[in-house]
Subunit: 370 residues, 2 copies
């Protein structure tokens, strides 16, 4: 258990016990609307409900869609701007798009279009030319890098809803699953499959509430130097890796992807995201980014808290037949994204067993579905 004086995620202000009942009520209410597609001659892929993107059968192909938000990482960018005078909104743009794109690809989709949702606390947010130029150019650059079309967006000023000086950033993404065999939901995952973990660049977009609380407790706050000589706040703002070039390359190379998981809230518990009961045995760990090492140590998180909250170096999990694991690793590495053959899927109760850490997460520690 975490030291009583340490920071658990709940004490840092995010209470999953409170959020999840709404999610489940909403999921059940949403499910009841599924048949409305029939009048248009279409059907949904029911297995996509509760997954990271919603899939509709459009005949010759599937579409996948998602809306995702940045969360509170922009608050770190705002504080760091006060300290360094630099703007970090190009990185923040990448984080926001990554939150959506890294979700939509989990169903086997190729991302096609992005919509921006930038809701500011007042119209003066948009008058800061340095910041707004960084956000726009960063957003554009990521779209070019991953080959999606930025289709439009919404830029409201919401004084009274959004905090003064703050911005609520989100992105929605539509993707295409073509050929339909690319769909990575349902029955493909099996015992014996290899678990390939793709490196993270740092905290990505989950766990920021706790990371911000820690900054408040450090005498030098975000300016505190971490190993490697960088400021804690600067390292937190390393932008999220986009995994769509890797998944596209894997599909093109003929890798039989059986499942994909974006490792976000709930940390490594997300490895058991698939609805079936399997045991996910991890026997090799990717290196932990310095900023997450620092965070876990200074917030006095035990390993269970740390790996159950943060990505700890693994931002994405790819499940492939064992004989294709090394090939998959090589493809990812060639694209500059570190990859690790980290474990294996086994018959057994739903749980993640991290052998090198002597740590097990039981299935009931992850509540995602109604």
């Amino acid at each position: 258990m975490t030291d009583e004086s340490g920071l658990t995620y709940k004490r840092a202000g995010v209470d999953y016990d409170r959020v999840d009942p709404l999610k489940i009520m909403a999921q059940q209410a949403a499910l009841a609307t599924a048949d409305n597609l029939h009048a248009a001659g279409l059907t949904e892929i029911a297995a996509s409900r509760g997954e990271s993107a919603y899939v509709v059968d459009m005949g010759e192909f599937y579409t996948a869609s998602i809306t995702e938000c940045l969360g509170t990482k922009s608050l770190v960018a705002d504080r760091m701007h006060e300290i360094t005078g630099k703007t970090y909104y190009a990185a923040i743009a990448q984080d926001t798009i990554a939150a959506a794109v890294n979700d939509v690809i989990t169903v086997g989709a190729r991302p096609l279009t992005i919509h921006a949702y930038w809701a500011a606390g007042g119209s003066e947010w948009f008058a800061d030319e340095q910041r707004m130029t960084a956000l726009v150019q960063g957003w554009q650059q990521v779209c070019q890098d991953i080959g999606v079309s930025w289709g439009g967006g919404e830029t409201p000023s919401l004084a009274g809803v959004v905090q003064p000086g703050a911005i609520d950033l989100a992105a929605s993404c539509m993707g295409i699953i073509r050929p339909k065999e690319r769909l990575t939901l349902g029955e493909k995952l099996r015992a014996g499959d290899a678990i390939v973990l793709l490196e993270s660049s740092g905290i990505h977009t989950n766990g920021l509430t706790l990371a911000r609380k820690l900054a408040d407790q450090l005498p030098e706050g975000y300016a505190t130097q971490i190993d490697g000589g960088r400021a804690y706040g600067e390292a937190l703002l390393d932008p999220t890796i986009l995994y769509s070039p890797v998944t596209e390359a894997l599909f093109e190379a003929g890798i039989h992807i059986h499942y994909l998981a974006h490792i976000t809230g709930h940390g490594w518990r997300k490895i058991m995201r698939h609805p079936a009961s399997f045991t996910y045995r991890i026997n090799a760990l990717p290196p932990v980014p310095l900023v997450l090492q620092f965070l876990a140590e200074k917030a006095r998180l035990d390993l269970r808290e740390a790996y159950g909250t943060f990505n700890m170096g693994a931002g994405f999990a790819v499940f492939v037949p064992a004989h294709q694991a090394e090939h998959a690793v090589a493809i990812s590495e060639r694209l500059g994204v570190g990859a690790y053959r980290a474990g294996v899927v086994e018959e057994g109760p739903k749980r993640v067993v991290i052998e090198p850490l002597d740590l097990t997460y039981e299935g009931e520690s992850l509540h995602l579905r109604a």
Copy 2:
């Protein structure tokens, strides 16, 4: 001009002069990403950029997508809850979905799927069972009413970004344009077309900042009685009309829809949303909802301010061949949505001429495109 002591929209805190440069910079940056669709063998409909929904050619059909937000209407619901103890979040759910759906249908799309974006100021927002049940059930009911599938959503807690106790509500919507001839962008609009205006139920989701400022100035605030004996706040919360059943019925009846405009920010100036130069001559006015009559009078808005900001009884404009106008009106009325053959499209400089009010909005008063 508006009386100096009255409330203009700018003085109420929404400064379109500040917002629009970002919109234009973002639109130009977004445009440069359009060719990324080619690698997937797809193309966009360039004419949809700057319109209310983004359209992609998927081969046998088009898709249309949009993200839209509620704005600040939830703050009225929160204040009215303090006064009456009632929850208004079923109506707020309808408003949020309507903001997205009434946009996506403007390109000729049939709405298919909705994603919810509910970003709260803290996880305690989701612990209020009455409110959260109303939001979920209201959201579901609207999806059933208009025949869309609620595909999923995102319910983050964003303390520090969203105000404590507040919620930032948005919806993204995907629709299908099939057959492709339904596309209502581009070359169809012509001189001689009739302008059919569909009634609004009240303020809908635009102009709430000003409406809230007015409440602060009234001695009895939202509890002030308006004509008809209802409280001002209660009347503001009449939910937005969903126009998709009307547009679907018009298409099914063989009405040749030439263009569609959702009348939102900029009020009746949105009637000249089409990129071409036409003069839009209005010769008949729909009745003004009591709450908008009250608002315009108490905020001492002149007619130019009022019709240039609020929907003033017309939530949606349908442009059809003159000989089909009466048929279109009848179809809408049969569905319970009041409709008015209000004017005609003419050759001439881009402007909206409201003859009964002796009021003209020039084209340069509406800046939507790069």
